[in-house]
Amino acid sequence: MARGQLVFISGGVRSGKSAYAESVVRAAGGERKVYLASGQAHDEEMKERIERHRQDRQEDGWHTVEQAYQMDRVLENLQSNDLVLWDCVTTWLANELYEGWEKGSMCAEISGCMETKWSSLQETILDMLDTIDLLTVVSNEVLDDFVRDELYQSWLGRIHIWLVQQADQAIEMENGMAFRRK
């Protein structure tokens, strides 16, 4: 069986990347639209907001899977022919890189910690593509500024470069316009 398609979409805040990503999934047709959400609720307002978004998507025919950490766990929830939209790389990276900070043992400060998580994510994405028909990955443009957090930003660059290498299509969003870079 052919590998599922990988589409990488990146853009700035309010660039229209999420709407475009949703349109890519809709255009693919398919049996089930899965929204893979990496956001975490840190307070009540966030919880309500996440729940509201989940309901909105449900009305629109999306099945939501919340996975803030350990992306490999998502595999058991996926079916063949699923169309998956993962939103987004930047939140997943923040979750994983800073995991454990409240206990004083942040992944970012543990040698090899993020490397292990990254290998696991790569494997998960490739496994996913063996099952599903489409994986659309959404991310943000945060590297055109002063380097404020070198570890986070260098990881993000590295992840984006790999995703673009693996992708069948790579799209940069600017003000609602999609520029195909690959």
Binding site: Q165, R181, K182
Partner: protein
């Protein structure tokens, strides 16, 4: 003169290394090239670090521009400038960073005007923009 431009950690240096892999390269990081090796391909990267250092030492924008012009006039055809885009963020709170960003932006405008070729790198993908 060739410019390779893009955000941080987008694979600009990797691209330049691949392009020049069989060449004799004189690679300069965070400073302007001081020696003139006529045979070598000259790569000037990390200009933002040089600009910051010079401003901290008290040099003026005009002096920096003169130094860049002088470097550019040495064997122009063999040069590759690796320029990091850091002018799309919010206004920095630190004065030195605001100054650096302004000076760097104007240096980039000058270099872009002078360049024969400009390649933008977006996560490893080159795009010819001039």
């Amino acid at each position: 003169m060739h410019i390779v431009f893009g955000g941080a950690f987008n694979g600009k240096r990797q691209y330049v290394r691949e392009q020049l892999k069989d060449q004799h390269v004189d690679w300069t990081e965070g400073q302007l090239p001081d020696k003139k090796d006529a045979e070598a391909f000259i790569v000037i990267a990390g200009l933002e670090h040089w600009v910051r250092q010079q401003l901290e030492k008290g040099f003026s924008e005009q002096q920096l521009m003169e130094q860049v012009k002088s470097s550019l006039s040495q064997g122009q055809a063999q040069q590759t400038w690796v320029l990091t885009d850091l002018n799309r963020g919010i206004v920095p709170t630190e004065r030195i960073e605001r100054e650096m960003r302004d000076v760097l932006g104007r240096l980039y405008q000058f270099l872009f005007a002078e360049a024969k070729d400009i390649t933008r790198i977006w996560y490893g993908i080159p795009q010819k923009i001039k």
